[in-house]
Amino acid sequence: MDIQILGTGCAKCKTLYANAEAAVKELGLDATLTKVEDLREIIKLGVMTTPALAVDGKVKVAGKVATVADIKKLLA
């Protein structure tokens, strides 16, 4: 599973990254987490509001910090 955290380095993006990391750990998933900070890449994924979270190239959350519980629900 490929999880991307989209955002240009704001505080909220870091929180989302930490939440995603925790969710992956708690579920014991085999997933790679990457930060996408380049604006062009973010726009290519169709995201207009950061932070956003994409799973296997599909945007699941945009414009808000999803909680660990939210992300676990998305990944499960």
Partner: protein, 359 residues
């Protein structure tokens, strides 16, 4: 297993709406409303009692008049802010930026400008996301002028500005601000569209145009989730803005108590024709949110500043800012930025003159 990151995560709030039945939620909301009103209606006597009763300050002194003003306005504005931000937070769950973009993508100019300006009020926006939003609009083929109408309206007319205008100036000025703010956004966006500035976008932005749009899986929200979004908005927005409200009102209270009435008539009054452009030129590079600037302007108005000049100053401070133009420089060439600032500043100046002439 160690999960150190979880410590930094704020504990998710328990959802008050999800466990409740509808009638329980309704009763709870009604009780909260009654309690809110009971406190709100008694703020003025409470402030008077604290100032003159509890602290024994003499009537008519500078300090007591400033303090009474402060003790009344701070809780009043904060209480209004909580209610309105909560309501707007719920409304905004219906207007995501993605949906706004979808609405605007098929629209022609003029109709598009009007719609974009109005959607700018209700779509969640912060200047930090101005660039991705701009790119997203351009990407899905929203005309440039229409995009600008949105970008001008979104920061200038928002719930915080409205609460402060309504709370401190009353309904009439708040309504005037909305109508003229919308007009500036519509006309400035339309003008930028007419000027055919597309070649002044950065080249890589131009390449994005019409490159299609990825769609976000829209999650269907139930009412519990919408109420939750309202509460989140209160926590985030009021949590961030309250300090500006307190500081702004403190400065306003100082002006209210210590600056003599009509001290500013010569400087910011109607007679001084140059006061409007000066207010705009001073206001454009300044960056403050509505919470910081409206209380100050309200105090100035009481000391002889003209309404048009005050409105123009407020719009220039809230609507245009140096940080925002620096952020936009990533996607716009200098000439387009200059046109954007110039057109909006001209619109605001016209608003200032119009209201100085009318009132």
């Amino acid at each position: 297993m160690s999960v150190p990151d979880e410590v930094a995560v704020p504990a998710p709030e328990c959802s008050p709406a999800s466990g409740l039945r509808l009638w329980q939620a309704a009763v709870l909301a009604l009780l909260a409303g009654v309690a809110w009103w009971a406190v709100y209606a008694n703020l003025a006597p409470a402030a008077r009692w604290l100032t003159y009763g509890a602290l024994h300050l003499p009537k008519g002194a500078h300090l007591s008049s400033a303090l009474e003003f402060f003790l009344f306005e701070v809780p009043k504005v904060l209480m209004l802010l909580v209610v309105v931000v909560f309501g707007v937070g719920i409304v905004r769950t219906f207007f995501t930026p993605e949906r706004t973009r979808a609405i605007l993508a098929g629209k022609r100019e003029s109709v598009g400008n009007v719609l974009a300006a109005m959607l700018g009020i209700v779509t969640p926006f912060c200047s930090c996301s101005a660039v991705p939003l701009f790119l997203g609009f351009v990407q899905s083929g929203v005309p440039l002028g229409v995009t600008f109408s949105f970008l001008i309206a979104a920061p200038m007319i928002n719930e915080i500005a409205l609460v402060l205008l309504f709370g401190l100036f009353g309904l009439k000025v708040a309504a005037i601000y909305v109508v003229t703010g919308l007009s500036v956004a519509i006309l400035a966006g339309w003008t930028i569209g007419r000027l055919r500035m597309e070649q002044h976008l950065e080249p890589w932005v131009l390449e994005l145009r019409g490159s299609g749009e990825a769609t976000l899986d829209e999650d269907r929200l139930d009412w519990g989730a919408r109420v939750q979004a309202g509460l989140t908005a209160v926590r985030e927005i009021v949590g961030k803005v309250w300090i500006y409200v307190v500081l702004g009102i403190a400065v306003g209270a100082g002006i209210h108590g210590y600056v003599p009435t009509n001290a500013l008539a010569g400087l910011m009054g109607k007679q001084a024709w140059w006061s409007v452009p000066l207010a705009v030129v001073l206001g454009v590079p300044m960056y403050s949110n509505a919470a910081g600037i409206v209380p100050v302007v309200q105090a100035l108005l009481g000391k002889g500043a003209a309404l048009g000049t005050s409105l123009a100053f407020m719009m220039a401070v809230i609507g245009l800012s140096l940080p925002e133009t620096i952020i936009l420089r990533k996607v716009l060439r200098p000439r387009l930025i200059a046109v954007f600032v110039g057109v909006v500043a001209t619109g605001i100046t016209m608003v200032g003159y119009l209201f100085n002439a009318l009132f």
